[in-house]
Amino acid sequence: MTTVPKIRLRGVCKSFGDKLVLDGVDLDVMPGTSMVVIGGSGSGKSVLLKCILGLIEPDAGSIEIDGQNVLAMDRPAREAARARIGMLFQNGALFDSLPVWENVAFGLLAQRKIARAAAKAKAVEVLGQVGLAGSVGDLWPAELSGGMQKRVALARAIAATPEILFFDEPTTGLDPIMGAVIDGLIVDCVKRLGSTAIAITHDMLSARRIGDQAAMIHKGRIVWQSDAYGLMESGNPMVDQFTHGRREGPIQMELRK
């Protein structure tokens, strides 16, 4: 196959102080596919996404988007590359000094794609796509439940119809039904926009619903990658231990006794 991967990581390393978090991550995500990344808490999944976004500078390695090395770009080119990515942050990261509709329309307003007058209508439209009533637009983020905040954050991430979407634990902390609803919305959005997606999740059900492909990160490396259907019967002892939540296995949690 000769298609250029939408996102291609080679040997990405990052440490904080003397703590090595990413230790040579290699990952390819093909255009139009959804990649689910699983891995233990603190294994560096969020750091990985922030490296691709350019929010954290890796110590070594290359990150290519559409075959272009992002790390070698100058600042305007990098900002342009970043504008093509929509990100749903782990904790939502809604701007709590702005009403919901301004949160949703923030990217569009910043890119001067629409006038302020039209922005609210557009925000209400996008809120509708994630199943929220237009009246929610006038509320403040602090007035929403966790599930609604996740949906608003999702709406904000997709509002500018990005080519690439990142989801950092989109269903953590939600009830199973709301989790399924959000998963459905994510699949819808990715299909409708034709985007390439990377999703991080701890929820195996959710992983199989969202993902075409799945990869597992452990000790700063990708230790397994395959298609998402095989997640529960991967044959890889590490993945099996993780997906089935077993205490015994090759992964030793570092707990202080």
Binding site: L53, L55, A93, F95, D96, G107, A110, A160
Partner: protein
């Protein structure tokens, strides 16, 4: 043993230099964004409201009482040596040159510097600053530049009001309590009020306003580690701004008045 001490000292010195360097770079970046588009007028007006308008009551009260105390103290100190003109000149001089800008600066540092550090710090630790970057918005431009500009403009405006109210406070005590003639007192005030004093006070105010915003933004922007980190950033912003205000007050006074 000796060497250990030297090494520790050296490390501390290096750390301080690094910190100062980072701060200067941050300030230059923030200031350069003030003059480069896009401009965020809403953020600027909100910052003007926060720094200027909502600080009015506390600055006004401080100024009035300071003027009153000045008049009262000097009346006992100067006793009967042509006290009426001496008090008027003392009040107008100390208020416009020193007490107006410094006290307004310190009050605003406590009020606004803390709030700024807390707001930006919270945005930092909840990923909102990162979220700005992912939404085609430069956080330095959106969060820092408008606040720096607002500090620079709002503080002199506040100090104009503080100057007037400070003199008014002195006037109240001089006429109502010490029994001076109102017209004479005002005449003396106007005679002794020098343009240079007022202007130097306003320049000081602009510098203090910039320092307050800079400290609030810098410490908020670089805070880490959750609620505790934000708390530490808030404290650091207020302490640093207050100390810097007093230090720069000395430096600017040297520049304006020492010959």
């Amino acid at each position: 043993m000796m060497l250990d001490g030297v090494a520790t000292l050296g490390r501390a010195a290096l750390g301080t230099c690094r910190g100062a360097g980072r701060l200067v770079l941050f300030a230059l970046a923030g200031l350069s964004h003030i003059v480069r588009p896009p401009f965020y007028f809403r953020a600027f007006f909100r910052a003007m409201l926060d720094i200027g308008y909502f600080s009015l009551p506390v600055v006004a009260l401080t100024a009035v009482f300071t003027g009153m105390v000045l008049a009262l103290q000097s009346s006992t100190g100067l006793s009967r040596f042509s006290a009426d003109s001496a008090i008027a000149s003392l009040v107008v001089l100390s208020v416009t040159r020193e007490l107006g800008p410094v006290l307004a600066g310190l009050m605003v540092a406590g009020r606004v510097g803390a709030a700024m550090a807390a707001e930006i710090g919270t945005m930092r630790v909840t990923d909102q600053v990162d979220a700005l970057s992912t939404l085609s918005t430069n956080p330095m431009k959106y969060l820092v530049a408008p606040r720096l500009l607002a500090g620079l403009i709002a503080l002199p405006l506040l100090v104009v009001i503080a100057d007037i109210l400070g003199v008014l406070g002195g006037f109240i005590i001089a006429t109502l309590k010490l029994g001076f003639n109102a017209a004479t007192y005002l005449g003396n005030t106007l005679t002794f009020m020098q343009t240079q004093d007022v202007v130097s006070g306003l320049v000081k105010a602009a510098v203090f306003g910039l320092l307050i915003s800079l400290m609030g933004c810098y410490h908020g922007y670089n805070s880490k580690g959750g609620a505790q980190g934000v708390g530490a950033a808030t404290t650091a912003a207020v302490v640093a701004a207050s100390v810097l205000i007093l230090a720069f007050d000395y430096v600017l006074t040297e520049l304006f008045f020492a010959r």
